[in-house]
């Protein structure tokens, strides 16, 4: 029986990998060849025929060397799935949402102010911004879906802009209550409530509406158009 590892080493010479990694590849392929050979011998094939049949698994060793080198060194997807399906669409949705808010404020749109109680913080809504947010949510959902995101990831991408605010308020609320010795607790609670509604809940719903509608639209289109073979 030949020394399979030596055979693979010779035939794959020039494989440009680190020495340890190269040895791993040689060893792995050698085990495969050895098992193929042994299996053929067990089936009753003579040594020479088993050897020929085993080696016939590789028509062109130089081609295999190239293929292995590409597979082990070139990152096919520079960005992994999570980046393409969530972070990128989410950050673009965030940028668009903030851009829209900036525009709304620049063009002097007055916010709707709801007075909750005398002397306590108020709820502020920029109606044009809230009306435009479904577009941003739809963009996030579209980009995420196009990258192959699941329904959960698609919806997370569309509401991505409010997630940082949500996290901040979830931390800031309880912390504020703990450290607000000098302030009345009801003021802190009202502030927490109003900011959560104004900056998380209301925009989140607006974004979600856009994301949900986009997902619905894409699902309906894909069910009528079938699978693309790109």
């Amino acid at each position: 029986m030949p020394d399979w590892q030596e055979l693979v080493r010779k035939r794959l010479s020039g494989l440009k990998l680190g020495s340890a990694e190269r040895e791993e590849v040689h060893a792995e392929l050698a085990v495969h060849l050895e098992e193929s050979y042994e299996s053929l011998r067990t089936k009753g094939l003579p040594e020479q025929a088993a050897m020929q049949q085993t080696l016939a698994q590789v028509a062109d060793w130089q081609d295999l060397r190239r293929e292995i080198q590409i597979a082990r060194t070139v990152k096919e997807n520079l960005m992994n799935d999570r980046v393409r399906q969530l972070w990128l669409p989410g950050l673009l949705t965030f940028a668009l949402s903030m851009g829209l808010l900036e525009l709304v404020q620049k063009f002097g749109a007055r916010p709707i102010v709801l007075d909750l109680d005398k002397g306590t913080p108020v709820l502020m809504f920029y109606t044009p911004w809230l009306l435009a947010l479904p577009l941003a949510g739809a963009l996030g959902a579209y980009l995420s879906k196009r990258a192959g995101g699941s329904a959960r990831i698609v919806l997370a991408s569309s509401i991505f802009p409010v997630l940082p605010f949500g996290v901040v308020f979830m931390i800031a609320g309880p912390v504020g209550l703990v450290i607000s010795h000098s302030l009345a607790h009801h003021i802190v609670t009202a502030a927490f409530f109003s900011m959560s509604v104004g900056w998380v809940l209301a925009p989140g719903i607006a974004l979600l509406v856009g994301g949900f509608l986009m997902q619905l639209l894409i699902s309906r289109r894909s069910s009528t158009h079938g699978i693309s073979m790109s």
């Binding site: 060893a27 299996s39 590409i70 096919e76 073979m229």
Partner: protein, 110 residues
């Protein structure tokens, strides 16, 4: 002739499906696929390993050296959570494709 994209897609599905049953090394994987598809799908060494390495780079499978009962060291592959997640939509996609082709050939013969 079947295009490279289709070939690669079916190969990926076959590998992920067979690994769903448990960790396997390359030779055993090729043998199981051939056996379970009654010889319809055959992986030569040259086709199998570049595919396995690509799938490992993508994070769908992970290989680790293990020593078998016979004392031989083999690199065993197992599905990662990302690979498990990939399997279900991939299956759905291929089922849709084969369904569509089936409908098409029925129409063509009608």
């Amino acid at each position: 002739m079947i295009g490279a994209g289709v070939k690669r897609g079916t190969a990926e599905l076959a590998i992920l499906s067979v690994l769903e049953e448990g960790p396997l090394h390359g030779y055993e994987m090729a043998r199981r696929i051939e056996e379970q598809t009654k010889g319809a799908l055959r992986f030569t060494l040259a086709a199998l390993y570049p595919m396995l390495y690509r799938m490992e780079q993508r994070g769908w499978i992970r290989g680790a050296w293990e020593t078998s009962q016979s004392g031989r060291r083999k690199r065993c592959y197992r599905l990662t959570p990302a690979g498990k997640k990939k399997l279900s939509p991939l299956r759905k996609e291929w089922a849709e494709l084969f369904g569509a082709l089936k409908r098409l050939t029925k129409v063509a013969h009608a």
